[in-house]
Symmetry: C2
Subunit: 253 residues, 2 copies
């Protein structure tokens, strides 16, 4: 059984990449064959796994433009059971180059459909926008995992995101549903964090994962070593929280 | 003399809105007539000044689609000398609706050109992407202020941003140049913050503002009261840092 989970939120800096990279790492460590697709031209998920794409090699960009197949751009990561499809700057061009193309929303779905069935989980990291790259991911995916930072501004974008998910579900992907809402960067020192948690729990109820990801320096240091947090500091609070998230995702089936 | 400064960086959550709102507030408090344009469909800058746009009223969206003039959508803020042009969700549609239009990059520049000369500063807050809304801002502007978060991932997007600025300067706005680079969310407790500061200073040299904005809870709490930080907690470290930034911007002339 292959499950595709997209990590999305158009609000910037809420922990999408940190969640995609570390959830993928823990799913792999728990024995599930996992593929991480980096749909963000910034390529943070790629470098978070120590795997920068070169301009002259094939990446997700070439796949979206039909120049090669997805299986041709899969790379091994520094973790067994975890593979990566890296992003590159040039991915920015895809949004413009595909504008007129018919069926452009289904390109990623078709590309994933051609993969053989060896993965248990496919995770997709999205850029902070609701453009074609995010639309492609939401069309290809089974579920969407929404990280929400424990900050005031992060609350504001939620309705816009839910509207987009509803539109995609109606027009492009009828089986799309919420994997869950993940509260991130919880800072015990501020009352604002708890106020946001209460608000999000009231709104999303059982859709909110029980684990809350705390603000934790190991999570922001690990990418500078090209490692997911379990390979950088497995006993840190951030690492423990993401391993709990993986258990919750597996339990939801 | 009217100076237009765009606050931009496609990396999400680096402090663009926090910088635009609080810099605008301190320029106004120092006696400069200031206009803040919210080009981000999330509308964080609008709500950061306590001024949410309603769906049925005219906003920047209507201006970009040529349905009304900029002076018709200007609102007063809770500070003398500071006006705001609010954003609304519907601004997302502008990127798609304007795709085929000739001269679509110059729409904002033309709209600002029609304003009478009463403002000393016009600040523009951008979304976390390099799409048409950001391109319009970079085409209309005199300079660009780039906030960079003291985090590893924030370093990665810099080359992409500089490439975009160079392209815009060549093709659309020959006088475009860097207002400066602002280091944000500096956390004294982590060595990562200092490592990023050193790296950014080495790369940008005198273009980096002397003031570094510390991570400070007043900056993240103020928006939940719809106030810029000088009206929320003027003696906080965050407020003092942004007032220093305003002095530096004025001194650069
Ligand atoms: N729980 C955490 N504790 C401390 N730092 C964190 C945490 N989660 C993420 N970070 C750091 O905060 C920054 C933003 O996180 P991240 O890049 O994962 O967000 P994003 O939503 O992917 O951003 P973008 O919108 O640009 O894609 C990064 O520098 C990351 O290292
Ligand atoms: N110096 C600071 N100290 C503490 N919190 C901050 C600071 N600067 C910004 N914040 C908070 O961090 C979050 C991200 O900042 P902000 O929204 O200004 O970034 P942005 O670049 O505008 O994000 P986006 O890419 O989504 O537009 C917000 O919740 C804000 O309140
Ligand atoms: Mg990211
Ligand atoms: Mg913003």
């Amino acid at each position: 059984m292959k499950k595709i989970i997209t990590v999305a939120n158009q609000k910037g800096g809420v922990g999408k990449t940190t969640t995609a990279v570390n959830l993928a790492a823990y799913l792999a460590l728990l024995g599930y064959k996992t593929l991480l697709l980096d749909m963000d031209p910034q390529g943070n998920a790629s470098s978070g796994l120590g795997c920068r794409a070169q301009a002259d090699s094939d990446t997700l960009y070439e796949v979206l433009l039909g120049k090669c197949v997805l299986s041709g751009v899969i790379r091994k990561s520094n973790l067994p059971n975890l593979d990566l499809v890296p992003a590159h700057n040039k991915l920015i061009g895809a949004e413009i180059e595909l504008v007129g193309q018919k069926g452009r929303e289904y390109i990623l779905k078709t590309a994933i459909g051609k993969l053989d069935d060896k993965y248990d989980y496919i995770l997709i990291d999205c850029p902070p926008s609701l453009g074609l790259l995010t639309v492609n991911s939401l069309t290809a995916t089974d579920t969407v995992l929404v990280p929400i930072q424990c900050e005031y501004y992060a609350l504001e974008g939620i309705t816009q995101l839910l509207n987009t998910i509803r539109l995609i579900k109606k027009a492009l992907n009828p089986s799309l549903h919420l994997e869950g809402v993940l509260l991130t960067m919880y800072d015990v020192r501020t009352s604002l964090s708890q106020a946001v948690v209460n608000e999000v729990r009231r709104y999303f109820q059982e859709k909110v994962f029980s684990v809350i990801i705390p603000r934790n320096v190991a999570l922001s240091e690990a990418p500078s070593f090209g490692k997911p947090v379990p390979l950088y500091d497995a006993s840190s609070k951030g690492a423990i929280a993401y391993s709990q998230l993986a258990e919750e995702v597996i339990a939801r089936g």
